[in-house]
């Protein structure tokens, strides 16, 4: 039997499905042999990415979010696809870590965490429309 290396999930883009998506990351991570620390980071970055898709991408519209997670050597590659309006993370400012909390603007933390906790984070606009976020976490698989 060939060992399955690529795992997919397609769910309605809804905040109510965030827990389901985190559980999917946990399940696949366990199958791939991802370390606990890397799994915690992947759970976080995917949750943040999908939250952005739901809130900033689809907004009031309904849509689907597709996830593909695979192992590549000791790295994990995750692709998150949607059919929402193209999203440019360049418009999102990093949080101001050296500013008093009460003066810090809300927001920007999700994209910041995605960039901090992955080795590669690409925000792509496929020819067919929508968005694809490609995340790579190296050294994740033990």
């Amino acid at each position: 039997m060939n060992e399955e290396k690529v795992f997919g999930l397609s769910v309605k883009a809804s905040l109510d499905n965030l827990q389901t998506i985190r559980q999917y990351i946990d399940r696949v991570g366990e199958r791939l042999g991802v370390s606990d620390e890397a799994l915690g980071d992947l759970r976080l970055v995917v949750d943040e990415a999908v939250t952005n898709v739901v809130i900033h991408g689809y907004g009031d519209n309904e849509g689907i979010v597709e996830l593909h997670m695979e192992g590549d050597g000791d790295a994990v590659i995750i692709r998150i696809r949607d059919q929402a309006e193209p999203f440019d993370p360049g418009h999102v400012n990093n949080p101001q870590l050296d500013t008093a909390l009460k003066d810090r603007p809300f927001g920007g933390m999700g994209i910041f965490l995605i960039k901090q906790m992955t080795d590669e984070a690409e925000f792509l606009t496929p020819a067919g429309g929508g968005n694809e976020i490609r995340l790579v976490k190296k050294g994740a698989i033990q």
Binding site: L18, D47, D98, R104, M109, G110
Partner: protein, 123 residues
């Protein structure tokens, strides 16, 4: 659907400390539950809050937005700069939550304790 349970307690240390014991995952679907409960206790007169995160397996940026909002609820106008909040402290975050706290720089603003009694007496 994720649910978040929050138990409210009060302990008398040097001041009356309201303890919010949170259980569940704090994400974009649930963070408002925490924010609303904090708002409710602050409206009820709470001035010092200890946020017990021992039962939180997952906390994303939405959780930190809630914490940010709670510090704003409690912060008097005299507090400024990068000093730690005398009004909100954290208890017992898991390693994963602790890493996110550090990555987002919230350890600069908030004291984090592992021991409940020590946390209560620190206010």
């Amino acid at each position: 659907m994720t649910t978040l349970n929050i138990m409210v307690g009060e302990e008398q240390g040097n001041v009356a400390v309201t303890i919010l014991r949170v259980e569940g995952d704090i994400d974009a679907a649930t963070h408002k539950t925490l924010q609303d409960k904090a708002s409710e206790v602050v409206d009820g007169g709470a001035t010092h809050i200890l946020l017990d995160l021992g039962g939180v397996n997952y906390m994303g940026s939405a959780g930190f937005r809630a914490i940010h909002a709670i510090t704003n609820m409690l912060n008097d106008e005299g507090s400024s700069g990068l000093s730690k909040s005398p009004y909100l402290k954290l208890l017992n975050p898991t390693d994963a939550v602790g890493r996110v706290i550090k990555t987002l720089g919230f350890d600069v603003y908030l004291d984090i304790y592992q021991d409940r009694a020590e946390a209560i007496n620190s206010f």
